[in-house]
């Protein structure tokens, strides 16, 4: 690692693969970094999407012992049929330990018929449908505040927002492809990936940031590669549709049926025939797949002679997302179709998609998913900050950086600190918005972006370091005060959650406090950070004086080497 004349010769030599990979890594990382950071953070919290949703619906009861799945299905179906007797299709999602409430949606009969609901939602493509949450034991309709819950973060992660989902998925996919390039180029560029495995140099400015970025990247490398590639595979039919497009529609439908279940209703026979008890069908599912093996029950044309009951397997039982279901004749009880296998291509896609979603994970594995994903988020964040730290040292005039530097610096603040603020803001809106407000769920989401935009404005108006510190402290406060806000505005204060052993609420609030502490620590360190003195700055001051006097006293004497303006020792190429 010595700066000898051979280094000068090496610089004249053609750029090696490590250097080109480094350039590629920096470009792809930078261009996609801000969106990738948002995708990573919202994806990370999505591993606890159900828990976040419950936290945002404090009116729902805390978890209790789950009653028999078959009984639950029957009671919920009966409840739906009382409200919408002629419904052609209803789907009941059975309660699980993570989500102990039954939910359902059902297609409403045409307007004017009994059961048509005023103000029912309309699906794109026509057809109104009703939806609701049901108590698992009594099938009583539960009412909770209007909110999208954790589902917002999950959907934002691949759809983004304020744009057609297709656009969002294309942007997310492009960023994911950039990420894949960044991962591979990053590994190639990281020369001493094994030797430097446990290297971390504290308090060394740029090198510390680089070490942090490397550690976060390398330790989580299996996850980061898996999550990026599987994310692209999830939407592979969108990004590479030509194989499917080359098929005729019936074959296309058959391919899709290998990947997702979709069983539309038959034509109604017009003859009434009683539906067999749903508990029988659920029991057959549990016989086949084990206790808790049934995830959902769909009933087509209840009360008609052509009724069908489709029993779908619980996703948490398996990794692959390929469809496993049983189709029964609803009136005779005969099993018409059993799907529990898909072809190798669909299974491969299903396993990769399943690994991405992590729905199979037990609580420990889920926490590992969350923590390593959080490390991935920090990997992207440290990469973005590293870009500015590295170049700040090389700025000819640190008070007047070039436009690109200013842009990256401000976008970093908004993308990183601003996002934390926005996400915490959604929880604040969840607690504070009036329950009867129109468009309440939409306004909770607007709150995220309003705060995020405000953070961007703050980042543009304030000096960069102050903006970082102020926004990080604000985010820390917003997170830390949520338990208090919950205690003041809901019936679920943290002391009751702890005493009752309600680990969804208690766990959420402890995690919020931990994240608040993390933001506070970052704010504190940033606040206390003093850039190292660079004596060469005095030479740079000279041109700014009005009189073009060459102050001989401040030019570095030949005996002093020009201080390291971040010329990297040979061997460090990032």
């Amino acid at each position: 690692m010595s700066k000898t004349p051979t280094k000068a010769k090496a610089q004249a030599a053609p750029r090696g693969i490590r250097q080109t990979m480094s350039d590629l890594h920096i470009w792809t990382g930078l261009l996609a970094g801000w969106i990738l950071y948002a995708m990573f953070l919202t994806g990370t919290v999505s591993y606890f999407r159900e828990e976040i949703s419950r936290y945002m619906r404090p009116e729902l009861p805390a978890a209790q012992a789950l009653p028999d799945a078959g009984q639950t299905a029957e009671r919920v179906a009966a409840s739906i049929l009382r409200q919408a007797p002629g419904t052609p299709q209803m789907r009941i999602t059975l309660p699980t330990p993570r989500n102990p409430t039954a939910s359902a949606f059902w297609r409403l009969p045409a307007d004017g018929q009994p059961g048509a609901e005023a103000g029912a939602r309309r699906r794109r493509g026509g057809g109104a449908f009703g939806e609701g949450l049901f108590d698992a034991a009594t099938a009583e309709r539960l009412h909770a505040r209007a909110t999208t819950g954790g589902d917002f973060f999950f959907r934002f992660h691949f759809n983004l927002h304020y744009m057609p989902p297709l656009w969002g998925r294309w942007i997310a996919g492009l960023c994911a492809m950039f990420m894949l390039v960044a991962i591979v180029s990053g590994v190639i560029t990281h020369k001493k990936i094994f030797i430097d495995f446990f290297t971390f140099r504290w308090g060394k400015g740029q090198r510390s940031w680089l070490d942090a970025h490397n550690a976060l990247s390398v330790f989580g490398l299996p996850f980061h590669f898996m999550i990026t590639w599987s994310g692209l595979i999830t939407l592979m039919l969108m990004y590479m549709p030509w194989g499917l497009q080359s098929m005729a529609p019936p074959e296309r439908a058959a391919v899709r049926a290998e990947m997702r279940s979709f069983i539309p209703p038959e034509q109604p026979a017009g003859r009434a025939a009683p539906l067999r008890p749903l508990a029988d069908f659920v029991q057959q599912g549990e016989q086949r797949w084990g206790a808790g093996g049934v995830g959902a029950v769909q009933v087509n044309l209840a009360g008609d002679a052509n009724a069908r009951v489709i029993v779908t397997r619980q996703q948490a039982q398996r990794i692959a997302t390929t469809p496993h279901y049983l189709v029964f004749d609803g009136t005779t009880g005969q099993m018409l179709q059993a799907k529990d296998a898909s072809g190798p291509a669909a299974t491969t896609q299903g396993v990769l998609y399943g690994l991405h979603l992590g729905r199979f994970a037990d609580i420990v594995t889920r926490w590992l998913y969350f923590l390593v994903s959080l490390a991935g988020t920090a990997m992207v964040g440290t990469g973005l900050v590293l870009w500015t730290v590295k170049r700040r040292a090389r700025l000819p005039d640190p008070d007047r950086p070039y436009f690109g530097f200013r842009l990256v610096e401000r976008l970093n603040i908004a993308a990183i600190a601003g996002l934390s603020l926005g996400m915490a803001g959604m929880l604040w809106a969840n607690r504070l918005l009036p329950l009867e407000m129109a468009q309440r769920a939409a306004w909770e989401v607007h709150a995220v972006f309003i705060l995020w935009a405000a953070a961007l404005a703050w980042a543009l108006l304030r000096p960069a370091k102050r903006a970082w510190v102020e926004l990080l402290w604000l985010a820390a406060a917003a997170l830390a005060l949520l338990p208090l806000l919950t205690a003041l505005t809901t019936e679920r204060p943290f002391w009751r959650s702890l005493m009752d052993g309600d680990w969804v609420f208690a766990g959420m609030e402890l995690s919020l406090l931990a994240l608040a502490a993390l933001h506070a620590a970052l704010a504190w360190r940033t606040q206390r950070h003093q850039p190292r003195q660079r004596p060469a700055r005095k030479a740079a001051d000279a041109p700014r004086r009005p009189a073009p006097v060459a102050p001989a006293s401040v030019t570095p004497t030949p005996a002093e080497p020009v201080p390291a303006l971040a010329t990297l020792p040979a061997g460090e190429s990032a």
Binding site: I195, F197, F198, T199, F200, W202, A215, F219, G220, P222, F223, M226, I319, V351, L355, F360, A361, D362, V364, T365, L368, Y369, L371, V372, A375
Partner: protein, 97 residues
């Protein structure tokens, strides 16, 4: 996979990365203030890889081996991070003594 399985898995991974660290020069400087010989370093690294092999065996022996492998991946990441954290803290707090 029971909590006990997870605990055993994490312990194996933690031991593995601690052993691997002890087989590398920079961590040896941090922890022992002197580099160990080539033979000792190789022995530590062998022990580390051996423990990782044991962790792999435990993953495959789990009731669902695919879930076991996923858990293994998570535990190795977490264990490596913890070993690094310990090294960093040792260096920071050791230096002030």
């Amino acid at each position: 996979m029971t909590p006990a399985w997870h605990l055993l898995m994490f312990t194996l991974c933690l031991g593995a990365f601690a052993a691997l660290a002890l087989g590398m020069e920079r961590p040896q400087e941090t922890l022992l203030q002197r580099p160990l010989g080539v033979a000792a370093s190789r022995a530590w690294r062998l022990a580390g890889w051996g423990l990782l092999a044991a962790a792999l065996w435990l993953a495959l022996a789990a009731p669902g081996w695919t879930r076991g492998l996923v858990a293994l991946s998570g535990h190795t990441s977490a264990a490596a991070a913890l070993v690094l954290l310990a090294l960093v803290l040792r260096e920071r707090w050791g230096a002030t003594r």
